[in-house]
């Protein structure tokens, strides 16, 4: 019997027993549904991390000299953490040293932030993410203004009390007003708003538009980093190739300045998007393993259900098998008929599961900040998996059917 004939037969069989087929499919459907949803979310998160998070939070070709890593999975032990907090801080005075070390054409900026209370006469006081920056901060971060302007060099050097604010800050503190030229008081000190940043969106549900950025030399730095240190010094190499060179140079001058012996390991950290994303790979592995274990159980149960149903089908259709054998069906014809039926059932279950899985993933990404991205390979994988589950669970029942004695099978009604 040709393959296509067997498929047609299987579909007819499924059509006749809609409800039974539906329950048979359930296990595989649920398994595949969660598989697709989990893979979609893991995929979505990692592509989000790589494309949006890394670019927005860390910048391209950029590294940040810090006391210890900010992003990532944190200290691995209590001892490591204690070692980290004993490290010397990064000060604004390190800036000239770094500036001299990095290749020509690099962009450099200090970064220093704190959540501070801001207020205007039009809104109740509220926390904003206050930054005290200088140098090429806006260029490295790829920030541009939607209206108004950025700081001039003179303003930055002089530490003029001015701010560039995020979209949300503008809307909250200046309702129905043009904020440009108006004052925003941060910790009681008035800063003149000179520009509003373009809307940045959010990362994992955290808004990037709640910022108020003032020059480093303005009074702001007394609040963001009262000890005179900075959170980090950002360096953007002119090309990706010069990135390693820039990092090595900075390592060299920092170790030199701190009089470190060659045997000592660095007591500072240079954070890149790669180092921040390393933890994402770890997270991805954990999520994929944990996230596929549950669907795997679903698929195994689904397979067992199909095997059970197929065994029942063989028993119910013994007479039919006898008829087919008397008409010249060979062992392999019967075997194929039942295998194809199990595989068709299971593949249909997988297809339904794929559709539900995509819906589930989209639903999760809409209801929560978790992003979802349906990977085409996961659809292929799920379909294949469905077919394989069907074939594997169909083998035993199909063998039983194929091995029936035609006379005995015919006699059974």
């Amino acid at each position: 019997m040709p393959f296509i004939e067997a498929v047609r037969l299987a579909l007819a069989q499924i059509r006749v027993q809609k409800l039974k087929s539906f329950f048979t499919l359930l296990g595989v459907t649920i398994g595949v549904m969660f598989l697709i949803a989990v893979i979609s979310i893991v995929q979505g998160m990692s592509s989000y991390m790589e494309n949006d998070f890394a670019a927005k939070m860390l910048g391209v070709n950029t590294f940040t000299l810090r006391r210890f890593p900010w992003f990532g999975d944190g200290a691995q032990s209590e001892a490591e953490w204690r070692q980290w907090v004993r490290r010397p801080r990064i000060y604004h005075s390190d800036l000239p040293l770094v500036t001299r070390a990095v290749p020509l054409g690099s962009r450099i900026a200090v970064e220093s932030q704190e959540f501070l209370i801001a207020a205007t006469q039009w809104a109740r006081p509220k926390q904003v993410e206050a930054h005290a920056v200088d140098g090429d901060y806006f260029a490295i971060k790829k920030y541009d203004v939607a209206s108004g302007r950025l700081f001039t060099n003179q303003e930055a050097d002089l530490g003029a009390p001015i701010v560039v604010i995020g979209d949300e800050v503008a809307k909250y503190f200046f309702p129905n007003l043009n904020p440009i030229g108006r004052d925003l008081r941060i910790k009681g000190i008035p800063y003149r708003v000179i520009g509003i940043l373009e809307k940045q969106g959010s990362v994992f549900g955290l808004s990037l538009d709640r910022v108020a950025i003032a020059p480093y030399n303005s009074p702001m730095h007394r609040f963001t980093n009262p000890r005179g240190d900075v959170d980090g010094i950002m360096v953007q190499a002119p090309t990706p190739n010069e990135m390693d060179e820039a990092m090595e140079s900075v390592r060299e001058v920092m170790r030199g300045k701190r009089n470190m012996r060659p045997s000592e390991s660095d007591n500072f950290f240079m954070e890149t998007s790669a180092s921040a994303l390393a933890f994402m790979d770890k997270l991805k592995t954990i999520m994929t393993t944990a996230g596929t274990a549950f669907p795997a159980i679903g698929l195994i149960v689904g397979g067992l259900v199909i095997m059970n149903i197929m065994l029942v089908a063989v028993a119910e259709r013994t007479h039919e098998i006898g008829i087919r054998k008397s008409l010249g069906a060979r062992r392999r014809d019967i075997l194929r008929q039942f295998l194809v039926e199990a595989a068709t059932l299971s593949t249909m279950g997988a297809i339904v599961g794929i559709i539900l899985g995509i819906v589930l993933a989209k639903g999760i990404s809409m209801a929560t900040p978790l992003p979802a991205k349906v990977a085409p390979w996961s659809i292929v994988l799920a379909t294949l998996l469905g077919t394989v589950v069907g074939v594997v669970s169909g083998v035993y029942p199909a063998k039983r059917a194929a091995g029936l004695d035609p006379i005995a099978a015919l006699r059974k009604e």
Partner: protein, 272 residues
């Protein structure tokens, strides 16, 4: 071929003995030749000898009934002739092929090509249309879909069901169902039509109708072998083989069989 019953060549006893004794392959003309066919069953340690050496020779175009009481071995013989079972000993030649000793898949092939079954309980697939039921043997023969439908429709038309091809078995009367089964049996143009109690589930009027169909097929040159325990039905065949206790008791022309029934005053004397 529209010859009358009398003109059909019936094999003679001498010819049959000659062909069943010869140790070589029978000539093509002999559709069925069995030589010393034996079949034993092991029923929980007890050996039941269903057939104890049966020599049957049937020539092309013969219309033969196999009779016998229950336990005579006629079902066993039918299963062997129908290639559903294999003998423990003896030879079985079907259409020039030595079938005894073939393995399962070869037997399936022989069933598909050479044998058309008609069963007492019709054995149609209940959920399939008449057309699909008749197509089945062609499906296993690997005939492509279009030709399959054409030949199945032809076969159904031949048994006068051309207007019922899309009906399911439960939408057909008993006689119509049996005609669907006959169409299915004929669709692969088999060497033999093997009917097992074809009228067992039918009333007498419908039985006559079905026997008429067999009659017509036989007169068109189809070899028909019918297994039955009803003398009235067996009397439609031109030759009657009577089995008893796993052996052939008699093998004779219908006329003689009838005479025997009448002379002995009923079926009881011939063990029916």
């Amino acid at each position: 071929m529209t010859s009358t019953t009398d003109e059909i060549p019936l094999s003679t006893t001498a010819e049959r003995q000659a062909v069943t004794n010869g140790g070589v392959a029978p000539e093509k003309d002999w559709v069925i030749v069995t030589r010393g066919l034996k079949r034993e069953y092991d029923m929980g340690g007890e050996i039941v000898r269903a057939l104890r050496g049966v020599d049957v020779a049937i020539r092309r175009n013969e219309y033969v009934a196999i009779m016998g009481p229950s336990g005579s071995g006629k079902s066993t013989l039918m299963n062997l002739i129908g290639c559903l079972d294999t003998p423990n000993a003896g030879e079985y030649w079907l259409n020039g092929m030595l079938v005894s000793g073939m393995h399962e898949d070869e037997l399936a092939r022989v069933r598909n090509k050479e044998i058309g079954f008609v069963f007492q309980t019709f054995n149609l697939l209940p959920r399939a249309s008449a057309l699909h039921n008749v197509e089945l043997p062609l499906v296993y023969a690997g005939v492509p879909g279009d030709e399959r439908r054409k030949r199945a429709t032809e076969a159904l038309t031949r048994v006068k069901l051309g207007d019922r091809i899309h009906h399911r078995p439960n939408e057909l009367s008993g006689g119509q169902r049996q005609r669907v089964a006959i169409a299915r049996a004929l669709v692969n143009t088999p060497a033999i039509l093997l009917a097992d109690e074809p009228t067992g589930n039918l009333d007498s009027a419908t039985s006559e109708e079905i026997m008429g169909v067999f009659e017509g097929l036989a007169s068109e040159g189809q070899t028909v072998i019918m297994v039955t325990h009803e003398p009235d039905i067996a009397a439609h065949a031109r030759r009657v083989i009577v089995l008893k206790d796993g052996m052939i008791e008699s093998d004779d022309r219908r006329e003689n069989f009838r005479a025997k029934i009448h002379s002995t005053g009923g079926a009881s004397k011939i063990g029916i």
